[in-house]
Symmetry: C2
Subunit: 324 residues, 2 copies
């Protein structure tokens, strides 16, 4: 499954730049960290650069300081001739970190998004993999590199994040097998989950409470809305709030097929996150408002205050429900 | 690993009673359902009886109607001579369903609790297994019985519940391997998780919001309390509230080592659920009040109204923290 060209790509150079997408998640950052480990085991050198602040959430990673933020910690770093992009479907998703790619550089793209554009010279793209981390594990196997406990932790984190803790439909026998091997190699599921899911700020937990109070059901309980007002988001506490996953609480209600999280981010501008379970395609709904995403997760913006935006959105949803 | 005696126990009889503990969780019920499947594949007959209403949460199981409630659906059922108890560490935990065990019956106990008392004639007890479901899987392998998609669903559910979705420290390479085999055999992680975790009542979600609003941190953020007043629990909505897992939201706050959920269940009687992460032993704290449980999860009752109970509990916690 691992292309021979990807293996020679790694063997034929000595110094690598490892990139991943802006605001990396556990799969992007974990895969990048693991790639650097593998390269070092091969006696090579590698630098990880990202175009955003390294997310605090992954500060528990051993060698977390490896990750350099472009423009902040990359002074004097010359462009690289050999570049590995992990978990990024387009070169644009690498952001400014792509400025470190030399004009005539060779690029290897490792990604599990089938939508990955072939922007690289060598492509290792596998849409059947649940996470890029799973593919990096196969790369290590192919190279006969034993997985260290640290590498196991990075890769297990990538898999846990991208399978939603082995919940999403991409939870295949293969990824469970790889996860088992990673635990054998030293990944600690309890420790990793504590860092990823038991590390909320007090403000985040309180904001979730506030949000759940606003939940309303519509259309015979098929659609749930919840919101944050602009006034609430102006408070001092807000900078410590991470709303990641909040919308899933609305989706977790029995009978709800579509959950909508509305936030009036600026006066008169309402951001909406949509999530679906079952057959409803929220991407189609988002598109009507110039937004987009996937069938099960999409987003859009309405240039109206919260209440008006909600009404417009629900009216359009009703039409879509009737048409469907 | 599977004792030869357990295998002959299954081969040597024709008609079995399968029991599990009162208020069965996914592991108890899933293991019982899977045992009946295995026995039928062997050409045997089996009945599942429990001493409580079959939990609604597992109504998505194919053949859910197999589960009979003792005293409600067991009229005319004669005591059994061959009995299998799954996931129950003592005969008392079987409740009234144990009345269906004939005086001279042979009992097989299958359990992953090391604390399982040897109340049975044949014991298959394995403290290294994450779930009884994992052991039932090994039993099927030993018997060379192919796992049907239904059986895979029952067993996967047991494993998901008992590992907390592959989060707890019992998430071993072995259990991940078995989980992978179960997905291969037809278990659908997405479907199962939707039924187990995306099936809340509106009242449950609203009650969680209400609870999160009451969160307070104490002792430099080491201890979090949250509560339901007696008045709130008297409301009509309360009968649709399932507080399972609520206390974990308080525990998920960064820096919190002990989370306390207080509920004034009757006027002047406060029930407390304790959860810990890190080193704090909540069982020791619970014991002081005549309660108990495990180091990471325990419960107790204080015969005082909410506010007074909270003060008494926090004073005792402070003493324990200072002593530790």
């Amino acid at each position: 499954m691992v292309p021979a060209k990807a293996i020679s790509f790694l063997m034929d150079a000595e110094r690598f730049l490892v990139l991943t997408h802006i605001n990396p998640d556990g799969d992007g950052l974990g895969s990048a960290m693991a790639m650097k480990c593998l390269l070092e085991r091969l006696g090579k050198k590698a630098e990880i650069v990202i175009d955003s602040e390294p997310p605090e959430m992954f500060a528990f990673f051993t060698n977390y300081e490896w990750v350099r933020q472009y423009g902040v910690e990359t002074d004097g770093l010359e462009p690289f001739n050999t570049v590995i992009s992990v978990d990024a479907p387009t070169i644009e998703r690498l952001g400014d970190a792509a400025k470190l790619i030399a004009d005539d550089a060779n690029i290897l793209c490792i990604d599990h998004h089938v939508s990955a554009k072939n922007f690289a010279d060598v492509n290792y793209i596998d849409g059947t993999a649940s996470a890029t981390a799973q593919m990096v594990y196969y790369l290590a196997s192919e190279l006969n590199i034993a997985i260290t406990p640290e590498t196991a932790e990075y890769l297990y984190t990538g898999i846990v994040i991208d399978t939603g803790r082995f919940r999403f439909s991409n939870t295949t026998p293969d990824v469970l097998h790889v996860a088992g091997e990673l635990v054998k190699a030293g990944a600690d599921p309890d420790k990793i989950s504590r860092h990823l899911y038991y590390n909320n700020t007090l403000e985040t937990t309180q904001a979730l409470g506030k949000l759940l109070e606003t939940i309303e059901l519509h259309f015979n309980g098929k659609v749930a809305t919840a919101h944050f007002t602009h006034a609430y988001m102006l408070g001092d506490h807000w900078k410590n709030v991470d709303t990641e996953g909040f919308v899933n609480h609305a989706l977790s209600i029995r009978g709800v097929e579509v959950a909508m999280l509305l936030r009036e981010t600026k006066t008169g501008i309402t951001r909406v996150s949509l999530r679906a379970k079952g057959g409803f395609d929220v991407n189609e709904l988002a598109k009507i408002f110039g937004g987009g995403g996937h069938a099960k997760a999409a987003g859009l913006t309405i240039n109206e205050p919260l209440e008006k935006a909600k009404k417009i959105l629900l009216d359009e949803t009703e039409r879509t429900l009737k048409a469907g």
